[in-house]
Symmetry: C2
Subunit: 207 residues, 2 copies
DNA sequence: CCGATAAGTTGACAGTGGAAACATTCATGG
DNA sequence: CCATGAATGTTTCCACTGTCAACTTATCGG
């Protein structure tokens, strides 16, 4: 522990992490619309331009926050796969549940990650890679399932996109309150996810 | 044509519609992040506070814009159902295609409608009803299919939410560029939608 | 015709993201 | 051990934003 953690102990200690932490709290509390760089700085106890020593601009901070979310997603996918080794169908359902659960536990962060609030190219390379890794968790489950003959003989990518779309759509509809009027909005996110995922698994199971 | 169109012909002609039109153009061009009320007003050729004569605030204008999008979605769902009368499976696939096509034709508007940019309660009652009507298009297709024994005997609402989630997720992933790295991103939206929808239709078809 | 009112304008204000110039602190090699 | 340069943080400033209040103008019903 000589010099490797150099970045962490300057003036503030570890402002970068503190800013991301404050930003996530404010995001959860007030939504992305009313999250200002200045409020983040204030919450972290620094001046309103201090963040610029750690992030190129506001978008960069939000992108870093989004990447944290993608990393959680990636870990959730991996954990779901590890939970039912050798059983791709259960793995897939479990992954779907994890996806929806994470999203509904952090709705505002999810909207930041996927809502297009990052105007377009704001996604840096690191973020894209982390997001890709999360998706690969699904792809791997499905590749295994196709190889084992559990799932239909279709391009695994296509099946993975179908699965991803389903759980992603459910997550987004849930977290934006679009299901509130349907009577299913009050269902526990996990329960809903399990039922929806099961329909797709039925659809892609080899017959 | 005496007095019923009273609201349309004052000073500007029909500023409300002109504002929504300008807003949609700017939205498409620059994204939601850089869409300012002032730029909308300028594009419509009026002063920067003129919009307040027609919308309570910026959120209200955006909400009205979103409702236009939901109305298109509702009409698209209805048209898809009308295209294959008596064949719920094709109706459902067609509805999915229409959904994804509309979204990828108007990505920024889609993000406005679903991305959580309207902070929370900004959805007025009219908008919620229009959105609900769009969803009902799906529900009706599925109710018919369940009644006819085409689809599995599950609550139609549950099946409809599954279908909605799938196409909605596909639309969001497509329009946020999340599929670009997968190799399926370049596929025509309609083709992708058809394949994905087919998997779900397979899943909910009675066996 | 005329007054009420809807529609649009002008000017102000606080809050925002960001740039520039300045100040402070650290970590290190002479 | 300490000066020096880079990393970190602050102050000040600016253009722009959403919104409010007060004002002007066009329109329509009596």
């Amino acid at each position: 522990m000589i010099g490797e953690m150099a970045k962490t102990a300057y003036h503030h200690g570890n402002l970068r992490a503190a800013l991301l932490d404050a930003a996530e709290r404010l995001l959860r509390a007030d939504g992305v619309a009313s999250l200002s760089l200045r409020s983040v700085a204030k919450a972290a106890g620094v001046s309103h331009t201090a963040p610029y020593r750690h992030f190129a601009d506001k978008q960069a901070l939000l992108a870093a926050l989004a990447e944290i979310g993608f990393a959680r997603l990636r870990d959730g996918m991996a954990a779901a796969a590890a939970k039912h080794p050798g059983d791709p169908r259960r793995q897939l359902v479990e992954a779907g549940i994890a996806y929806v659960r994470l999203a509904s536990a952090h709705p505002e962060l999810t909207h930041l990650m996927f809502g297009g609030a990052l105007p377009d190219d704001a996604a840096d390379e690191a973020q894209r890679q982390t997001a890709q890794a999360a998706f690969q968790g699904l792809v791997r489950i499905i590749e295994d399932g196709v190889r084992a003959g559990t799932f239909v003989d279709r391009p695994p990518l296509e099946l993975a996109v179908a699965a991803w779309s389903l759980v992603h759509g459910a997550a987004m509809l849930l977290t934006t309150g679009r299901l509130d009027r349907t009577g299913l909005g009050r269902m526990r996110a996990e329960t809903l996810a399990r039922r929806l995922a099961q329909h797709l698994v039925d659809g892609i199971t080899a017959r």
